[in-house]
């Protein structure tokens, strides 16, 4: 059994490693029971013209084994590498991908499982000579036993060109997981508060793009361990607040708080927080930590009020008004029936709210972090709401007098008082369903409180919400007499209907806007066209019934099926900060633009190129340079060499270059290009842009020339 498992894992390892170990971009492996380790480089050889190499320390941890981040948590020790035996190596920058949290035996640890690559930014002494990376690695791997591993890895690169795609992909994948800095991470404000007794750390970070399920890893200095964080989100998930107990205090070791935040596998950033002088208030209070009855009553009151207000929101008002007007129309119904009918509606609303509470509680139990408003990130949910809203507004506008009003309409908005009260029950429930899209702005506080709290908090808040929402029904049930005060039906009802229709349409338009943000314009068009077609079909009066409904149903189903799936693969990551508008690389285009008097900045880059990433983050995307590249008459041209590309290779070759990063500036004053150094500085770039430009661009230099 064990033998077989071992055999299979060896086989898998062999399959995984052999293709790469066949060429020079990987070192011999170190293998032990817990790990397999090797050094990799993106480049197969030293191209002879670049001082920088993109390399990585690749660890493959076998099942159950972990190793640690640079701050390991309560115990544990981070990997350390001694490079002193290396040859022709000036410096190696060791990058740490964002960690994950393990809680085992009640101890908090941060680190890695499975595969991890620590990207290495290597700079060489001599760009022409061969180089040897010689790593003496010390690391601790733990499962239920901890094993110190100490081993050497050697990787010699001769002169040569070529890219090892496998290694390059691994390096670029993990380079992307290295936390961004505050700028690239979209951090606006980061504050940390530590009390005088060094008992707890409060963190408050505001970011541009909403967070989903963040985790926080603060570092306060060597040997200061922190306990499990209490994380809360606020301000539409753009505010992250966390409280962490300080387990071991050493005032002497205290440094500026460095906070790393991760949100899923793809988003992470590290920011140096400013020390706040006052306690940072949480976005909401959590009942679990302070079960205060008064606070509970207050929150319940807010939820009740919120539920009540929901009745006049554009999503719910039409449902309520249909219900009430049906009552006015049938004023001959006995009071007892009215009473029971409205009670049934109230029950419908309550059942939906309790069902929702149960689902949310279940999700919370399962350890999923649920937040209100999260449903607005789900294109399917938004599309369904849009279709429903459109159908109803069309109905209110009278485009179709639902030709089976006695069945569908009464089922949805029940006339009450017939056999059974299921229609009334579903009216109430339907009202509650319709209320969900409108609830976010009103109920954020109460619902966030509930979701962060215990089961009882969820129950209380949602019960109060349901009671508020069904208050009008309950009022009629209690005093059926009030319907006599309702105005008699007449022409005014048409106006009300029209008004309601406008409200619903407005809500639908708002949801379209939300959908555009979540899934892109293509989804918006798909949902709009198909649901519009559906409404058109039902609105044609002469169409025979047996075609009408199947056709309409088909278009609505299409709207729901196509719309959400037309989601554009636009990475939200890139959207968080408008990227520089790069023109794709085209060598002929350079000359054309230069002859037209433009300045062209060419950046040859690749996902695996660590120095390119550094250049981008520190110089190209930073102000002054960024501004200059966006200026009139300047073109930023990018050649992406992540995948092999003959055109780019030939272009580099024409400059005698085989490696990247490569940056050059062309202009009327420098048609053959000014080649920049590998490690960009903003002065160099600005200077080159000025020298390459015409007098118009380089006023300052004009006189000297």
């Amino acid at each position: 059994m064990l033998g077989l498992r071992k055999f299979i894992s060896v086989l898998l390892l062999a399959v995984f490693f052999i293709p790469q170990s066949a060429n020079a971009a990987s070192s011999e492996e170190h293998r032990s029971t817990p790990i397999t380790a090797r050094l990799i480089t993106a480049q197969d050889g030293i191209p002879g013209d670049t001082r920088s190499l993109s390399a990585g320390l690749h660890l493959r941890l076998n099942e159950k084994w972990k190793t640690y981040w640079r701050s390991p948590g309560e115990v544990g020790i981070p990997p350390s590498v001694d490079w002193s035996g290396s040859e022709n190596v000036k410096d190696i920058e060791f990058l740490w991908p964002a960690p994950t949290r393990f809680t085992a035996f009640g101890i908090e640890n941060f680190g890695y499982t499975g595969d991890v690559v620590f990207p290495l930014r290597v700079s060489l002494e001599d760009s022409r000579g061969p180089a040897t990376l010689r790593a003496q690695v010390k690391l601790l791997v733990c499962s239920d036993i901890c094993v110190p591993e100490e081993f050497a890895l050697d990787l010699t690169l001769e002169r040569g060109t070529g890219i090892d795609q496998g290694a390059a992909n691994l390096i670029s994948t993990y380079a992307d997981r290295v936390p961004d800095d505050a700028d690239a991470g979209g951090v606006r404000v980061a504050e940390a508060f530590i009390d005088d007794d060094l008992e707890e750390l409060l963190v408050s970070i505001r970011v541009d793009a909403p967070l989903q399920a963040p985790d926080v890893f603060p570092e306060l200095g060597a040997g200061i361990a922190l306990g499990k964080p209490d994380i809360r989100l606020g301000e539409q998930n753009r505010l992250l607040w966390a409280r962490l107990p300080i387990l071991s205090a050493d005032p002497g070791a205290l440094e500026a708080p460095r906070i790393t935040v991760t949100d899923g596998a793809d988003r992470s950033f590290t920011v140096l927080a400013d020390r706040a002088t006052q306690e940072l208030p949480p976005p909401f209070l959590r009942a679990a930590t302070k079960p205060d009855v008064l606070e509970m009553v207050w929150i319940a009151a807010i939820a009740l009020l919120g539920g009540l207000v929901l009745n006049v929101m554009p999503c719910v008002l039409p449902v309520l008004s249909i219900k009430l007007s049906s009552l006015v129309r049938h004023s001959d119904i006995p009071r007892s029936c009215v009473r029971t009918g409205f009670l049934a509606s109230a029950a419908g609303a309550m059942v939906f709210m309790w069902g929702l509470a149960l689902v949310l509680w279940g999700l919370q139990r399962l350890g999923m972090s649920v937040g209100w408003g999260l449903q607005f990130q789900n294109p399917l949910f938004i599309s369904i709401m849009i279709v429903v809203l459109l159908i109803f507004s069309a109905n209110l506008f009278g485009t179709f007098e639902i030709s089976l009003p006695s069945s569908l309409q009464t089922r949805l908005a029940g006339a009450g008082g017939r056999e059974g009260y299921s229609a009334d029950f579903f009216t109430g429930m339907f009202g509650a369903v319709m209320a969900t899209p409108c609830s976010a702005p009103f109920l954020g506080t109460a619902v966030a409180f509930a979701l962060a709290g215990r089961g009882i908090d969820i129950l209380v808040v949602f019960t109060a919400l349901g009671l508020g929402l069904s208050a009008p029904y309950l009022a009629v049930a209690a005093f059926p007499g009030i319907i006599t005060f309702m105005p008699r039906p007449g022409r005014w009802m048409l106006a009300v209907k029209l008004g309601m229709g406008v409200l619903l349409l407005t809500t639908a338009l708002w949801l379209f806007w939300v959908l555009a943000g979540v899934a892109g314009m293509r989804a918006v068009w798909a949902v709009a066209v198909f649901s519009g077609a559906g409404i058109l079909v039902v609105s044609i009066p002469d169409l025979r019934l047996q075609y009408k409904w199947p056709l309409a149903a088909a278009s609505f189903v299409l709207a729901l099926a196509v719309g959400p799936n037309a989601q554009q693969p636009a990475a939200p990551q890139d959207a968080k900060k408008a990227a520089l508008s790069w023109v794709p690389f085209d060598r002929g285009e350079i000359a054309r633009r230069v002859s037209a008097g433009e300045v062209v900045f060419v950046d040859v880059t690749a996902d695996w190129c660590l120095t390119c990433k550094a250049n981008k983050a520190l110089v190209i995307e930073r102000e002054t340079v960024r501004g200059a590249l966006e200026a009139e008459g300047v073109t930023a041209m990018q050649a992406d060499w992540t995948r092999p590309d003959e055109r780019i290779a030939r272009y580099l070759e024409s400059y005698g270059r085989y490696g990247i990063p490569f940056n050059a500036v062309y202009g009327p004053a420098a048609p053959n290009g000014i080649v920049l150094s590998e490690l960009l500085t903003s002065t160099d770039v600005m200077d080159a842009l000025a020298r390459a430009g015409t007098a118009a661009l380089a006023h300052g230099n004009a006189g000297q020339d």
Partner: protein
């Protein structure tokens, strides 16, 4: 009214009485693991098919001086293997000795220390734990090991470890003073024991034992003549203690 109280009382008694019963059942039906005799040192055995095979991996700690490893008192340890493992207590065959090896940086070691501390207290007089430190991970590890062994000399090893459960060890005087006060040991004596040649020798002997048994990491323990690396459940551990007593563990010595 009275009857209800009676029912309550009966119910409570039944619940209370069933606890030892459940424990007995668990003890009775916990299967013993299979054993495998060690080729070296003779007379000892290990639990078969664990995470690791103790294939005589060369023991070397991170940060440990390579030369010092050669000068470990290997021969002395081999000549008196039970004395080195279990201390001077190993005369009474009714008491099952347990040697525990741990390191400050190892998360699961703390769990093992706590479990063994509880076991020793519960099976009052039936087992005796000897604490060994295997500082595998550099200077902080070594200093914490010295402090732990010094605390052990004032019978406060478990308290010391529990105190350290969630806080990194810091080798400054203020920290040690606060620690001494918290666990109720004499600070001056702790400091002088930490720096004593006896503690140094004790750590070297533990290292020699680890090398002799081929431990690959921490925690590790030797219960009578059975070597365990990695996690073992409390139930199995108790069963093993019984077995070692009936099978006369002292034969291995």
């Amino acid at each position: 009214m009275n009857r209800r109280y009676l029912l309550f009382g009966f119910g409570a008694a039944a619940i209370g009485g069933s606890l030892p019963l459940v424990r007995w059942f668990r003890h009775r039906f916990t299967p013993l693991p299979e054993f495998e005799m060690l080729a070296d040192p003779k007379g000892f055995r290990k639990i078969a098919g664990g995470e690791f095979s103790l294939s005589g991996n060369v023991f070397s700690g991170i940060g440990e001086d390579r030369k010092a490893a050669h000068e470990l008192p290997l021969d002395a340890v081999r000549r008196n293997i039970c004395g080195s493992l279990f201390g001077s207590s190993s005369g009474n065959t009714d008491v099952v000795p347990i040697a525990s090896f741990s390191d400050f940086y190892c998360p699961f070691c703390r769990v093992q220390t706590k479990r063994l501390g509880e076991l020793e207290r519960e099976l009052n007089g039936e087992v005796q734990v000897t604490w060994h430190e295997l500082p595998l991970l550099g200077d902080a590890s070594l200093l914490a090991a010295r402090a732990a062994l010094a605390a052990d000399r004032q019978n406060a090893y478990v308290q010391f470890q529990e105190r350290l459960l969630s806080s990194p060890f810091r080798a400054n005087d203020a920290y040690l003073a606060a620690l001494s006060e918290a666990i109720g040991v004499n600070h001056d004596r702790l400091i002088s024991d930490m720096n004593s040649p006896e503690v140094t020798q004790q750590i070297r002997e533990s290292a020699a034992l680890a090398k002799t048994f081929g431990f690959v990491g921490t925690p590790a323990m030797v219960v009578g003549r059975t070597v365990i690396q990695g996690e073992v459940s409390d139930a199995v551990l108790r069963k093993l203690v019984d077995l070692e007593r009936t099978e006369n563990w002292i034969d291995a010595c």
